[in-house]
């Protein structure tokens, strides 16, 4: 069942130097119990996408056009107050380094209890009972409900943040680099937990990351972003093994594969473009080894490769694997 549908989203930031076109016309859908990975280099617009959906853009940022439909309701037409009521209940966000966002002088249990009391109209005792259940759900001993943040390790604090994100049973959770600051073993524990939650409570997860290899473990679908646009989208299998866009190819090959050949990973020459004045035609053309004159002048549209696999590239035919 379709839960979240983003259509032609355009988000811009006004800064002194001009308008930054951080997100420039992206569309995707997220279904019940599904995990969609949004991947790209820093500055490609993935976090801006998350902030636009959650209605948490800073004051310089503005959604210029598009629709964000959650169960059929366009979030962009709601007032701040209506949106505030829906945050936590419909959509919640787990940020990167979120464990540092806990209030150090307040018991962790109380920080979650507060959210539940405010959004679910429950009294303290009821809310506390619910927090204990949430703790067991994210595999923290419920007896630690009265602990303070400094008594928890980084991984445990991240679990507390996940418990908080789940407090009002949201339909959708947006994870913005939720495991980036954690050790590999703790990362594996957290990914395992998120995967189980998607399955058991039918939560939709939008997972934003720079690390394509993490998505191989957890995502059902992957969208690759470059300079504010989705350049390729498909099942995780499509993106990791049947990629058709040259940028996706380079990205996949920049991760070493210990079960493959031991050869130097590839790098992508050049820097990501300036989004105040993005390159003409295909935005990737200045860094692309296959670029032609057409790529410099004409922006490529999406080509449907079947089974939900789409890509935006002129040179796709000269590029058989």
């Amino acid at each position: 069942m379709e839960m979240l549908s983003v259509r032609n989203l355009v988000t811009q930031f006004s800064i002194k130097a001009g308008q930054v076109k951080a997100v420039d016309g992206i569309s995707f859908t997220l279904n019940e119990g599904e995990t969609l990975g949004l991947v790209g280099e820093s500055g490609c617009g993935k976090t801006t996408t998350a902030l636009s959906i959650a209605g948490l853009l800073p004051s310089e940022g503005r959604v210029v056009s598009g629709e964000i439909l959650l169960s059929g309701i366009d979030l962009l037409t709601l007032s701040q107050e209506e949106l505030r009521k829906r945050r936590w209940k419909d959509i919640s966000v787990i940020f990167q380094g979120a464990m540092n966002a806990l209030n150090p002088v307040m018991k962790v249990g109380d920080q979650i209890t507060e959210v539940i009391m405010l959004h679910d109209n429950k009294n303290y005792q009821e809310a506390r009972k619910q927090v204990r259940e949430l703790f067991s759900l994210v595999e923290i001993d419920p007896d630690r409900i009265d602990g303070y943040p400094h008594e928890f390790s980084g991984g445990m604090k991240q679990r507390v943040m996940i418990a908080m994100a789940l407090a009002c049973r949201p339909k959708i959770v947006i994870g913005d680099e939720p495991t980036t600051a954690l050790d590999v073993m703790v990362q594996a524990q957290i990914l395992n937990l998120l995967e189980r939650l998607c399955r058991d409570i039918k939560m939709g997860l939008l997972l934003i990351t720079h690390d394509l290899s993490v998505l191989g473990e957890i995502a059902d679908k992957v969208a690759v972003m470059y300079a504010g646009k989705i350049v390729e989208m498909g099942s995780t299998e499509d993106i990791l093994t049947q990629y058709r866009h040259p940028y996706t190819e380079k990205l996949v090959h920049s991760f070493p594969d210990i079960y493959g050949k031991r050869e130097m990973v590839s790098s992508i020459p050049g820097d990501p473009p300036n989004l105040i004045d993005p390159p003409s035609g295909c935005r990737f053309h200045p860094r692309c080894s296959l670029a032609t004159i057409r790529c410099r002048t004409e922006e490529p549209g999406y080509i449907d490769l079947g089974g939900g696999h789409i890509t935006a590239c002129h040179e796709i035919r000269g590029y058989e694997k």
Partner: protein, 335 residues
């Protein structure tokens, strides 16, 4: 192979700060055993990787090898001689030959200095140049090694005008300018975008091939260690658990901790149903180390003896050492 850097029975302990009351009334000073008996030899032109999670003591080993951290006991030989401590003449000579590259190029460069001064500073500090023309010439040469070309374009830039990758190249140029023999690279690519990681790693390998530099490469990412290094040591709570060639560690590891690390490593493949050895909990507190094998509380195949007796690092096949009472393969086959 001649060894350039050799540490034996290296211990680095820190005093643990308790509360004020505890400090006054307790007669037992608690210690954090950050490095607790490590032996490594790094050969000429070798890239040796030290892999572990945070708190394993890998950075402390790197700092101790450069005399940036006082060792509690043990010996560290550089070209067969004990490394000097303090600030004397011999210490200066040592520092010219052994350099460090830090993790964060956003913090390791002085934001008010231009590239020419950042890269040239080691020459000035060590009185190795007489004129500014000479400094300029040497800096241009080092920038060339680090792949910042055309060099003249970078000389007068400030760090904030450079991208993360370029900053790390500046840091590398500053480390290379004194023609070091040995470099400790502490997570040199973990702050960089994946698209430029490869360039920095390639540069390190190139410098080894051309100038014969030896490296201690410190990383949490086993796949990067596998990619560029000759040998890998896996550290856990201040001790080496397993040591061997890159192929051995990744392909035929025998320590349960190494195998768990490998099984949870993200891969650029679809691995949704991969068999994983996910360890419970987190690395325990290095102040109260477990009795016996320090990995025993999290070990999936723990036996009685592991809770009583600490296993020594022992050779299982030539060049492959494992610190485990029951070294064996736990998972079979690729995902």
């Amino acid at each position: 192979m001649k060894s350039v850097m050799e540490a034996s029975a290296l211990h680095v302990h820190f005093k643990a700060r308790g509360s004020f009351i505890q400090e006054i009334f307790s007669n037992h000073q608690k210690k954090v055993k950050a490095v607790d008996g490590v032996n490594i030899q790094i050969g000429e032109g070798e890239i040796f990787s030290l892999v572990g999670e945070s708190g394993s003591g890998k950075t402390t080993v790197g700092k101790a090898l450069l005399a940036l951290e006082h060792k509690t006991s043990g010996s560290i030989l550089f070209n067969g001689e004990e490394i000097p401590s303090g600030t004397g003449k011999s210490s200066r000579r040592f520092r010219q030959k052994a350099q460090m590259i830090f993790q964060d190029p956003y913090q390791s460069l002085n934001p008010r200095d231009i590239v020419l001064d950042i890269v040239g500073e080691p020459l000035v500090v060590n009185n190795l140049i007489k004129t500014s023309a000479e400094k300029r010439e040497r800096v241009i040469e080092a920038l060339g090694w680090a792949g910042l070309r055309p060099q003249e374009e970078y000389l007068y830039r400030l760090p904030h005008e450079l991208s993360g990758g370029q900053r790390q190249r500046v840091a590398i140029a500053a480390a290379l300018i004194l023609n070091p023999q040995f470099i400790v690279a502490d997570e040199p690519v973990s702050m960089l975008d994946v698209s430029i990681r490869a360039d920095i790693l390639r540069l390190m390998v190139e410098m080894r091939d051309r100038l014969g530099i030896s490296y201690l490469f410190i990383t949490h990412d086993l796949s990067l260690a596998w990619l560029i290094s000759d040998r890998i040591a896996i550290m856990y709570l201040g001790k080496i658990m397993e040591i061997g060639s890159s192929e051995l560690i990744v392909g035929s590891s025998l320590h349960p901790y190494t195998q768990a690390l490998i099984s949870v490593m993200p891969l650029p493949r679809v691995t949704k149903n991969k068999k994983r050895l996910i360890l419970k909990g987190e690395t325990p507190d290095p102040i109260d180390l477990p009795v016996g094998c320090r990995f025993n509380p999290r070990c999936p195949v723990v036996q009685d003896i592991c809770r009583r007796q600490e296993p020594e690092l022992a050779e299982v096949t030539p060049g492959h050492q494992v610190a485990c009472h029951f070294p064996k393969k736990l998972l079979v086959g690729a995902p």
